[in-house]
């Protein structure tokens, strides 16, 4: 039983070391998404994160537009207030879409250069 416990413990320790060290080994082997050497390769994950942030902001803005329309149609807003706020939100949405387009264009050019 003692030997079994020792073996199981060693197995666990080995598994932990393999799992925890995987990113370090990958970085040493030169995996681009984990490289800290900077340059175009390091920009990839940052681009992806920026993309996801902008997509989340876009979804949030679309939700605001839907909420606003629902508030108007359920009689909580006057037409004047609805139109004024709607125009403002649409302008904010367009600004997010423009930033998203720029980031997506930047990501595409990174991919082209990488290829």
């Amino acid at each position: 039983m003692g030997l079994l416990i020792v073996l199981l413990t060693l197995l666990l320790v080995g598994a932990v070391v393999v799992v925890v060290s995987a990113p370090l080994r990958a970085a040493r082997a030169g995996a681009p998404e984990l490289s800290s050497s900077g340059g175009d390769h390091a920009a990839g994950p940052l681009q992806l994160e920026r993309l996801e942030q902008l997509e989340a902001a876009r979804e949030a803005k679309y939700r605001e537009l839907r909420d606003l329309e629902l508030d108007f149609r359920t009689g909580k807003l006057s037409r004047a207030d609805y139109e004024a706020t709607d125009a403002q939100l649409r302008a904010e949405a367009i600004a997010i879409l423009d930033r998203l387009d720029r980031v997506q264009a930047g990501e595409a050019s990174l991919r082209t250069r990488g290829a």
Binding site: M1, G2, I5, L8, T9, L12, V13, A15, V16, V19, V20, S21, A22, P23, L24, A26, A27, E33, L34, S36, P45, L46, L48, E49, E52, Q53, A56, A57, R58, E59, A60, Y62, R63, E64, L65, R66, D67, L68, L70, D71, R73, T74, G75, K76, L77, S78, D81, T85, D86, A87, R90, A91, A93, I94, L97
Partner: protein
């Protein structure tokens, strides 16, 4: 196998220490491979603690009494399912459950955010692993679940009979899941402050986890209330017990957080509120965990024995000091991006809602910790009881329910008075009609309860109006039939309508609380067979005594040696009124390990537990509990004679004789009888809240999300073209 369990704890501690270092190093030096390694340390921690938990669970299920925790809290006569749950009935086992659940939920949070918030996630990982290290250290140095005794005892002490109840199996895992999920927003909030990234990104990332924490905590609190009502034998569901309060406080601040984070997402406002609420909720969750283990407060929930007060106080001190420092030092970055457009807006209602919720939390905090504060200042311990809590929480609860009805009626940003008048008309009319009806029915002598009923009616009217108008609007836009329009409306606006349903659930729950508190009839008296008692609108007649013997055959299937009870006949009105129910409350007597009680006495000398019997309905519960007189001279003589003459292996014969004597010559028993209206509404309301919360949190199917995004994008572009 205890050695394997302890080795897992040591490995877990090492993983936490490494992970903290790797995460901080990765963030500070901009080396993502170290941040990723830190995140994987959390996954590894979850794996190692799963192994440790499995070792302990197997020990319980296989009756390995060499483990001290198994010997202290389980036995061969403890039913199997309760043995499985007994793992978390001890200090040591519950610490392991806490750490394990924390590692699981933290792993999930870090996995789902692995490609986002890189600068924040590294700090959050370090903080979460810090909590892991704290709880694992407690087990390694103070309360080791894998301590063994050689030779192993032949039998264990058995699970506390009070915990042998179905909801008690699930209540701690739900509550601990809630507590541990509260740590996730705290970690990400601190990470956002440390990384100085205080836009809405971190809010969006942890929103679902905050919701999940709120759901689990709420469900855990309700399950505990149900256990109190159906098992403890006092007839109530909430006693303002310190540990009950400790679980309610983070739920209150968590509720405030869920509401105000919507405002930061939409308008970039209330940043100070949000980060403070996230930190406060997590800290209160730790304080709740501290209360049961510190020995500082008296509670039925408290773990006896070793106290872990000092390490927890240090941790809580660090959390409070650290939170205050971070918020104050980053206050410039926490300025709102916009101001309130109007007092007549949903934002201002949410702000008022926050103030009330935090106020409620403060009142409960003061009343719960008052004994400590009093002792520290004056040297004398003092305590506050339910009347004090009721005096201050009821008005705040009324305000809360009323505000939850106003919110749906007012638009974001600004509403006009004319629109507000139109929207308030129907719900106010319903509230007023409710008031008239209750006054005519004679409810005037309970003004607070009547006010709560009217506020709840206002909420139901307000939400009902929203559903009707929303469905009508959807029909006008899409030309759908009403049922389909309603479904489509809810599918496209899950957060809004899920939230409305949760508000309805809260209103229903508070109606149940108000009615059962204010209009309850209760009586405690002694009855012999054939005698009756009146309680409220019902008559309860003691028909005959009941008795069951041996663990396998006890009436409530909880492993008691002997169960003595009574068959009760409940009729509406007088004794000859229509039959309502037949009830069989009983008292279970459990074995003890105390040899001084004698061979027979020790079979029933453990803790006696009341098994409540009730007839529960949508309009009222008839609740009964019995306390048989087991010390009656005839019964006591049997025990004494058995102790003198019977060896241990034959002692159960005397229990059979005792039961027979009880059936043939039953002594007068004490009964607690209650007629309580609308108690079922509390449980139903809670389920509605959970249902509404699940709808709000449920992700939209990706196809619907894409279609909605494409349509919204096209509209936005057209709008710009028009402009």
């Amino acid at each position: 196998m205890a050695g394997l369990g302890y080795a897992c704890l040591l490995l877990a501690l090492a993983v936490c220490v490494y992970g903290i270092g790797a995460s901080i190093y990765g963030v500070r030096t901009g080396r993502p491979e170290f941040t990723a390694s830190g995140r994987r340390s959390m996954y590894a921690l979850a794996g190692v603690l799963t192994a440790a938990f499995a070792v302990l669970e197997v020990a319980f299920l296989s009756n390995d009494f060499a483990f001290n925790t198994v010997a202290d809290t389980s036995s061969r006569t403890t039913p199997g399912l309760y043995r499985a749950a007994a793992v978390w009935s001890s200090q040591e086992g519950s610490l392991l459950l806490w750490a394990w659940l924390m590692s699981i939920w933290s792993s999930l949070a870090l996995f789902l955010t692995r490609r986002r918030l890189r600068d924040i996630a590294g700090y959050a990982t370090a903080i979460l692993l810090g909590f892991g290290a704290f709880f694992v250290s407690l087990m390694v140095f103070y309360a080791n679940p894998f301590v063994t005794t050689t030779p192993a005892p032949a039998e264990g002490q058995g699970l506390d009979p009070l915990l042998r109840f179905p909801t008690m199996m699930i209540h701690p895992p739900m509550l601990y899941s809630g507590y541990t999920l509260c740590i996730v927003p705290l970690a990400f909030g601190m990470g956002a402050l440390l990384a100085r990234r205080l836009d809405a990104d971190w809010i969006r990332a942890i929103r679902r986890f905050s919701f999940a924490a709120w759901l689990f905590l709420g469900a855990g609190i309700l399950l505990g209330a149900r256990w109190s009502y159906a098992e403890l034998g006092w007839g109530g569901y909430w006693g303002w017990d310190a540990v009950e309060n400790a679980s309610l406080m983070p739920w209150l601040t968590g509720t405030a957080f869920l509401h105000s984070l919507m405002i930061q997402e939409k308008r970039g406002m209330l940043k100070v509120w949000n980060v403070s609420l996230a930190l406060a909720t997590g800290t209160l969750a730790i304080m709740g965990t501290f209360l049961v283990r510190s020995g500082v407060l008296n509670s039925i929930h408290a773990f006896g024995g070793q106290t872990l007060g000092v390490p927890f106080v240090i941790l809580i001190g660090i959390l409070i000091a650290g939170s205050i420092y971070l918020v104050v030092s980053r206050r410039e970055m926490l300025r709102s991006e916009h101001r309130l457009d109007s007092l007549l807006s949903r934002e201002s209602i949410f702000l008022a809602n926050n103030v009330v919720l935090v106020g409620l939390c403060f009142v409960i905090f003061w009343g719960t910790y008052f004994p400590l504060i009093s002792e520290a200042l004056t040297g004398h311990e003092a305590s506050v009881g339910p009347p004090w809590f009721d005096r201050y929480t009821v008005p705040l609860a009324l305000m809360l329910v009323f505000l939850s009805g106003i919110g749906p009626l007012i638009a974001w940003r600004r509403a006009t008075l004319a629109n507000a008048r139109r929207n308030f008309l129907a719900p106010l009319a319903i509230a007023f009609a409710t008031l008239l009806g209750l006054e005519l029915a004679g409810g005037a002598h309970k003004p607070l309860a009547v006010t709560m009923f009217c506020c709840a009616a206002f909420v139901l009217g307000s939400v009902g109006q929203e559903f009707v108008r929303g469905t009508r609007a959807r029909r006008a836009m899409a030309g759908e039939a009403s049922p389909r329009a309603l479904l489509a409306l809810m599918r496209r606006n899950r957060r809004r309508y899920g939230g409305y349903i949760a508000h309805v659930g809260m209103a229903v729950l508070f109606v149940g609380v108000a009615a059962s508190s204010s209009f309850q009839h209760a009586t405690e008296l002694g009855l012999s067979p054939g005698q009756s008692a009146r309680v409220g609108a019902y008559t309860v007649r003691y028909v005959r005594p009941t008795a069951t013997v041996t663990p396998r055959y006890d009436a409530a299937h909880t492993g008691s040696t002997l169960s003595l009870g009574a068959l009760l006949d409940v009729t509406k009105g007088g004794p000859r009124g229509p039959h309502v129910a037949t009830l069989n409350p009983s008292e279970g007597y459990y074995a003890s390990q105390d040899p001084s009680q004698g061979t027979v006495g020790s079979l029933i000398g453990g803790q006696a537990v009341s098994h409540v019997a009730m007839d529960a309905g949508i309009t009222r519960d008839v609740w009964t509990a019995i306390q048989p007189d087991i010390e009656a001279p005839a019964l006591k003589r049997i025990v004494e004679l058995g102790n003198r003459t019977l060896p241990a292996q034959d002692a159960v014969v005397a229990i059979g004789v005792l039961a027979k004597t009880y059936l043939e010559h039953p002594p007068q028993a004490q009964f607690h009888l209650i007629d309580s209206p609308l108690v079922m509404w509390i449980w139903l309301g809670g389920m509605i809240v959970v249902g509404g919360g699940l709808i709000a949190i449920w992700p939209a199917p990706s196809a619907v999300r894409r279609r909605a995004s494409v349509r919204a994008r096209a509209r936005a572009v057209r709008g710009l073209a028009r402009a």
